[in-house]
């Protein structure tokens, strides 16, 4: 089965530093997502992306966050100035089409971000 690939698997950074989390979605997919899971809490939606623009974003996705598809294969999440509360597991996901009816959402294995 095709896979969504995320790198790195673990990222440690100092508070205030910028981080970029990388994802390679499945090649023929058109919709891309970032979710995060703070330890012991729910998996939360951050942002969806289609046709090189953000489709929807949650309240969590403030001005410190940005997403980009720089080269047609990678999908990145940037946090400009990390805060302690950004420590979480970040999941990338992709689907061929939008919506749940006929599409399967594929998740990557996540990047564990630790902000010190």
């Amino acid at each position: 089965e095709p896979e969504v690939t995320q790198t790195p698997s673990h990222q440690v950074t100092q508070m205030g530093q910028e981080v970029i989390l990388r994802c390679v979605p499945i090649s023929n997919h058109l919709y891309f997502y970032w979710y995060r899971q703070i330890l012991g809490q729910k998996v939360e939606f951050l942002v969806s992306f289609y046709n090189n623009e953000i489709s929807e974003k949650s309240e969590i996705f403030d001005d410190q966050f940005s997403v980009e598809r720089p080269d047609g294969s990678n999908f990145t999440l940037k946090i400009r100035s990390t805060k302690l509360e950004d420590s979480a597991m970040y999941f990338c996901a992709s689907s061929r089409g939008q919506g749940a009816a006929n599409e399967k959402l594929f998740f990557g294995s996540g990047t564990q971000l630790s902000v010190l």
Binding site: S48, A93, Q98, A100, K104, L105, F107, S109, G110
Partner: protein
């Protein structure tokens, strides 16, 4: 607002015993419902999904779930649990307000004892 509740934080069952993980949802229209499993160090894997039709849905790894509109529930079941089923299980609902996104429950950690 759409929400998903998984009332059990963790459950322990004996290998070979049956399993039922509870899930209740809140959604204004006909829900799209999912169960995902997360093994340690792994991503989220879709077990099964419900959109319409037969309210008993079969999934991978021998799991099934039953949609009960009257109870706003979508409980996951397996007749005989294997040690490899130990993982975190997430119930989720598809939300079509705005674009499409998945709203997850808090998860239930399944422990399997020999």
């Amino acid at each position: 607002a759409q929400s998903v509740t998984q009332p059990d934080i963790h459950i322990t069952v004996s290998e070979g015993a049956s399993l039922e993980l509870r899930c209740n949802y809140s959604y204004g229209a006909t829900p799209y419902l999912f169960w995902y499993v997360q093994s340690p160090g792994q991503g989220l894997q879709l077990l099964l999904k419900y959109f319409s039709g037969d309210t008993l849905v079969q999934g991978i790894k021998g799991f099934e779930a039953e949609f009960k509109r009257s109870q706003s529930s979508f409980n996951l079941r397996k007749p005989s649990v294997h040690w490899s089923d130990a993982a975190e299980y997430f119930c989720a609902v598809g939300d079509y307000t705005g674009g499409f996104k998945t709203i997850f429950g808090a998860g239930t950690r399944l422990f399997v004892k020999a």
